[in-house]
């Protein structure tokens, strides 16, 4: 089974593509909205994303076309295959009259993998905010 699944998030930002591009490709700016990193805008460059939760993602720049497309691997190594994750994150920027449409696609999960564990931990904060409500319904 090599079928993959994908998550797509899209949003329009009231800022020009060049500015968004800087936020996506300059390490000190990436850190402000995503994670600590040693990113460099160069195909083949290997880097890590380090989450607040202590997890480290292994990444490699696959595609870079300013200010349109940025793709890198988003892998999480784990001895337990249920937790290991191999995926590719692709950002696509499209200019609009009001700014920029940003599309993020993350794909590469196995269909039997219920826990996309690597990056998902950073979502825990929000999850905890909802936990009380979830438990109230349980």
């Amino acid at each position: 089974m090599t079928e993959t699944r994908a998550v797509v998030i899209e949003r329009e930002f009231a800022h020009p593509p060049e500015k968004l591009w800087r936020a996506l490709t300059q390490p000190h700016l990436i850190e402000e909205w995503l994670m600590k990193n040693d990113f460099a805008p160069q195909v083949g460059h290997r880097f890590n994303l380090r989450g607040d939760w202590g997890g480290v993602l292994d990444c490699e720049v696959l595609e870079i076309e300013p200010p349109r497309t940025l793709a890198y691997t988003w892998n999480f190594a784990n001895d337990d295959p249920a937790y290991a994750l191999q995926s590719v994150v692709t950002f696509t920027l499209t200019p609009t009259p009001a700014g920029t449409h940003l599309r993020m696609e993350q794909e590469g999960f196995r269909p039997d993998q219920k826990q996309a564990f690597g990056g998902a931990h950073a979502g825990w904060k929000k999850f905890f905010e909802k936990l009380d409500a979830v438990l109230a319904q349980a």
Partner: protein, 110 residues
């Protein structure tokens, strides 16, 4: 590995107790802690905290590590995973990141 539904039931049962849930959340947010440190913030006795930790451990939500006379507890990453489908989980992650990106872009104007 328990079937997803059974695992979720166990997690809900374990976290239904507010004191236990507070201990678990503290471990998730602040990382590894000793029983003593947890007791200082929990508002209940040390034996009560130890009992809660035992229940959390049995449910697979925390793990312990012995060092000298101290036992350190930490949250087990992924313990809550059975509760959430990965697609909605990752979507939530990226929505949050996009919120932060939007804030950053505003700050870059200044």
């Amino acid at each position: 590995m328990l079937p997803a539904k059974t695992a979720a039931d166990a997690i809900f049962r374990t976290l239904a107790d507010p004191t236990r849930r507070a201990i678990f959340e503290r471990l998730c947010r602040q990382g590894e802690q000793t029983v003593g440190a947890l007791t200082a913030q929990a508002g209940v006795s040390q034996p009560a905290v130890s009992k809660h930790l035992g229940v959390l451990k049995q449910a697979g939500l925390v793990r312990d590590r012995h060092e000298g006379r101290q036992t350190h507890y930490s949250a087990r990453p992924g313990a809550l995973a059975p509760l959430i489908d990965w697609t909605s989980q990752m979507a939530g992650f990226w929505e949050n990141r996009f919120d932060d990106l939007e804030d950053l872009l505003k700050r870059m104007d200044q």
